[in-house]
Amino acid sequence: MSISRRTFLRGAGGAVLTLPWLESLAVGSEALAAQSTLRMAHFYVPIGVVRRGFFPGEQDDVIPKGNLGNVMKSLGKQNPNRNIKPLEQLTPTMQPLESLKTQVNLITGMDRTFQQGTDVHAQCASCYLSSARPYTIEGTAWPLDRTLDHLVADHVGTATPFRTLEFSCNSHRDNKESIYFDNISWYGTGHLAPSIRDPRKMYRRLFSNSEISRSRDITSLVLEDARDLQQELGGSDRKKFEEYFESIRAIEKQMDRLESMKHELSLVDFEEPTEAYLPRGDYIRLMGDLMVTALQTGLTNVATFMVGPERWDTPYMFDGLFDKPRSHHQMSHNQTKMIDDLLKVDQFHMEQFAYLVDKMANVDDGNGESLLDNTLFTYGSGLGDGSTHQYNDLPIVMAGGGKRLKKGQHINLPEGTPLANLWLTQAQVMGVEMKDFADSNGLVTEILS
């Protein structure tokens, strides 16, 4: 573990990256200089949570027994009505947020719709930020449309080197699962925004771009090839091939913007990660530190972060929690036996979220605001429970947003409130003019000040 990195980040509010630096980053956008840029980040937890440990009032509910396959609803009863209370007594899984509870909202009662046609886990993560109305997307079994992060980035990611960044803390070396289990971010149906699992690779993507400009001359050459080729393709292939142009355009912009940030980036004191094995918590926090730094420096305004892959029942070490490698997925299907262990995993994931919330709260973003004040940072899982595989009553915690949002509440939304309502609300707060999103039917006004 690099001490200098830690030291830098602990004091990150201070010396290295201060306001003047940020101001100079407002490349080509006057609006940015005038007011702080609002960012968005999503922290995704795979395979649901133990309901008894997470949700207030469910502590005595029945423990799901084994894999309840497609039960897809809660075993216990939730309050079906709107209810807003101050967030006071935290449940065991929420405990890591104790010192931050005035800065977050717990949101319960949010639902998604599962579209028959894929494995039940296959849509958990992949469609979490999309939740399209079932059967509205043609040619795919997934209700998967352009995801929230990209729609928001279309608006706030136009001046940053990276429109979005995708992080995944998936350390598996076997590739037993398909792309739908390792990604929550999609440009569109069947068009993946691939996540980076390796901190070294992420580091190099963010900070080592000396080579990039050298490929410039050949880009223009291949673009000509691409234009010719497009003429030869039939309709559906031509549509698919758009991804090539989009990619080239994105890289062109990335090169321009990194070039203009060259000096600022050279000031970032972040030691290049080594190849050495990192205990799971350190690995997650290192990835998290990279995300915070990217948001802080303006390398991107939008990030998604998977704390682990969906399903993938290969065991891995949760260093410090268990002696042996354990499979999160397997535990979720054996709650009657392993509920205590699974609760530890849930709490462990919440600790990582709390660490990042705390970190953002301590990064000075200028105007007396912290990075957290200027970021909508949301914890959530695509499942309400890993055994029942329910797509309803999801665990959601939302942090950040500064004065724009009310905080310190437990908001219970009426039964059947689509998760897309929260995404729509977030998009609007982010300044996107959007009247509806996916299967939304309203806004979550309860979070707005």
Binding site: N67, G69, Q116, A141, S178, I218, L221, Y244, P325
Partner: protein, 696 residues
């Protein structure tokens, strides 16, 4: 743990769509039904009568939740518009999956009548369905990219070392031109062996991420291969880092002299550059390079030279652009979606590309390209000759690097960790026996291919390849296992020896140590996982996921059930009708293998000390009492396996899921292959000669 594991939850979404279609279609066609008159098929339709008599109890509106499919509203007219649905109903009737065991059964005559009627409907549905599926434009995957770059530059080394190429060749054993696998072979296991990822490659070149295999599919599937700015960025850098690598020099690059080397002084540069680029771009892009393309690249090169670059540098820059160009990176066929029947045939260049990516995992060579140029390749005689040539070429290894391991899902053994205390012999020095186990089915596959053996050998082979270390995993075969000495076992170069198999409990791709281990948990076997594996891999019929609120089988027996065998516990578990349908199919497949413990050793008693009963019935038709009879049962209907295996191969060859129309081709292929003794090369040849392979 019963309903755990990806193979179990995994499934083929198309099957769900089929269910959806069945539910929605009757509604869609409720109105115009009177317009589309019910066309009587020869004789009176028995469809309504039989479904009402045998299916309605579960498959009706009231029961739709339980059965997921409502037959009461479904007419033959609906089916005439849905080949997939019709095929699916035919399958369950043909394979005796339906009606379920304890329900009244169709008589043989009724079954035949029912099927005959459905077959006619199926043919109509196919005709109605138009041109069928087509493979869409797709990026090369990482493996194909590596090979295509190696071939384009004629590199003497690899671009990246790829763990997905599990079995490494040592001492040159792979010689398909001889038609014979050597008695002794030396291999390495890239993902699990020692230092097997160290091999000659281009320094300073970093691989892009592995492309993941589709669920119940392959890693070349068009719908899973897209491009992102991040990957584009990597590919652009890659083009440069390959051509700028210190290892990219005249000795390593076969085409150096003819492409990169500076022409002699007395030559006019312009025409030389153009000519070199024309040939190079044709090979790279797998189709003729037109004038404007050659112009573009040559003016790029000439302007670099004019501004001071030396000749090889300028050519390297053009080469870097070439391998970043979409024309190199993407596999595609030109033309519109709705082509007329006549223009649906792929062009000769496209055929060359399909052929070489299927069998060589790479771009076509000069021979294929010149046959395409002279428009001879589509000629059956020429095509047959080329198939022979490709199958005898050492580049066939790339087919063996991809297809068999993905077909068998062998990557799953990479993460198998049997309980160290119960199975200490699985571990040796710092390694796992799986390193050796994984090679066995792969060597069997290569032998069946190279020696053109019947594919039935894949089920029940009379030979196998074993290393000394692997023989320990089969020590139970010997009368007295103690005479097999514990050897250290290789960890780098693994020496395998071909041996005859007389004990039919081993041999074939099913009952080997690798598959038995990877379909088990650390402590106990997982019969359902094994059953699901057989259903998916051997019969190409992956099970659907468990239905709603399945009472699970606890990890440990319940009070009062301690003495039950796992079979008895599972029987109690599937008393519900909605579980039964599926489990009646997959459970017997897994139970048949209960004699193999979690590391593939033979046993006669389970963990509770109960005698194992592997008996059962395959497709409710072929009874078996032990695993040898189980293999007999599979081979009692070799067409079924042949068709399933052909389906896997075709899906791989076409880089897409198969549709109903492809099934017609599979039937024809199966017939031809059967007539030729189920030979492996005949099967591959028939896939290439089939209509789906030769049309878009």
């Amino acid at each position: 743990m019963t309903c755990d594991g990806s193979s179990w939850e995994g499934r083929y979404w198309r099957r769900r769509c089929f269910v959806i279609c069945l539910i929605i279609l009757p509604l869609l066609f409720a109105g115009p039904r009177s317009v589309i008159a019910e066309e009587p098929i020869a004789g009176t339709s028995q469809f309504k009568v039989l479904t009402e008599q045998f299916c309605a109890e579960c498959h009706s509106v009231d029961q739709a939740v339980e059965a997921d499919l409502d037959l009461s509203q479904l007419s033959l007219d609906d089916l005439r518009k849905d080949a997939e649905a019709t095929r699916r109903i035919m399958d369950v009737i043909e394979q005796r999956e339906m009606p379920p065991e304890d329900a009244p059964q169709l008589s043989d005559q009724q079954r035949l009548q029912f099927l005959e009627e459905l077959r006619a409907v199926f043919r109509q549905a196919i005709a109605h369905g138009g041109s069928g599926e087509r493979t869409s434009i797709r990026r090369m995957n990482r493996f194909q990219y590596n090979n295509a770059v190696v071939d384009l530059f004629d590199l003497r080394c690899t671009v990246f070392t790829l763990p997905e190429r599990a079995m490494r060749v040592h001492r040159n054993y792979f010689q398909p031109e001889t038609g014979k696998m050597p008695e002794q072979v030396a291999v390495g296991n890239r993902p699990l062996g020692k230092s097997q990822m160290i091999e000659p490659r281009l320094a300073g070149v970093a691989a892009f991420p592995q492309d993941l295999r589709a669920e119940h599919g392959y890693d070349n599937r068009a719908d899973h291969l897209s491009l992102s700015p991040m990957l584009m960025d990597e590919l652009l850098k890659l083009g440069r880092s390959i051509t700028q690598s210190p290892d990219f020099h005249p000795k390593q690059v076969g085409i150096w002299k003819s492409f990169f080397a500076k022409p002699s002084v007395d030559q006019d540069l312009g025409p030389v550059v153009r000519e070199r680029l024309r040939r190079f771009l044709t090979r790279a892009f797998r189709r003729p390079a037109d004038e404007s393309l050659v112009d573009r690249y040559s003016s790029f090169v000439l302007s670099m030279i004019a501004s001071g670059s030396d000749f090889p540098e300028a050519m390297k820059a053009a080469a870097a652009a070439t391998i970043s160009s979409p024309r190199f990176l993407y596999l595609y066929e030109g033309g519109s979606d709705q082509s007329s029947e006549s223009s649906r045939s792929v062009s000769d260049f496209e055929l060359a590309t399909r052929l070489s990516f299927f069998l060589w995992g790479s771009a076509p060579d000069d021979t294929l390209l010149s046959l395409a140029e002279s428009e001879q390749l589509h000629d059956d005689e020429v095509l047959n000759e080329q198939i022979d040539r490709l199958l005898r070429d050492r580049k066939l290894k790339r087919f063996c690097d991809q297809f068999p391991a993905q077909w068998l899902q062998l990557d799953r053994i990479v993460s198998s960790v049997p309980n160290r205390e119960r199975f200490p012999s699985f571990y040796f020095s710092k390694y796992r026996s799986s390193m050796h186990m994984m090679m066995e089915p792969l060597l069997l596959f290569e032998t069946v291919l190279i020696e053109d053996l019947p594919i039935t050998q894949l089920i029940d082979s009379d030979f196998t390849y074993r290393s000394k270390k692997l023989s320990q995993s089969y020590a139970w075969l010997a009368e007295d296992g103690s005479n097999i000495k514990s050897t250290g076992g290789g960890v780098t170069v693994l020496n395998f020896q071909r041996i005859p198999v007389s004990d039919r409990r081993v041999g074939g791709v099913i009952t080997n140590a690798a598959v038995m281990t990877m379909t088990s948990g650390p402590d106990r076997t997982q019969p359902i996982t094994r059953g699901a594996w057989i259903a998916s891999v051997i019969f190409n019929d992956p099970p659907e996921p468990p239905p709603a609120d399945v009472p699970p089988l606890p990890e440990q027996p319940l009070v009062g059930e301690e003495n039950l065998t796992i079979r008895e516990r599972l029987a109690a578990h599937r008393e519900r009708a909605d579980c039964r349908g599926c489990h009646e199919q997959i459970d017997p497949l897994g139970f048949a293998l209960e004699n193999y413990d979690p590391v593939g050793h033979w046993r006669t008693e389970d963990e509770q000390g109960n005698t194992i009963d592997p008996s059962g019935q395959l497709f409710r038709e072929y009874a078996f009492n032990d695993v040898v009879e189980f293999k007999d049962a599979i081979l009692a209907d070799p067409d079924r396996f042949c068709r399933a295996f052909a389906g896997h191969l075709m899906s791989f060859a076409l880089a897409r899921e198969l549709g109903p129309k492809d099934r017609v081709a599979l039937d024809q292929i199966t017939q031809t292959v059967k007539d030729d003794g189920y030979k492996m090369k005949t099967l591959i040849r028939q896939i290439i000669l089939s209509e789906p392979f030769r049309t878009r």
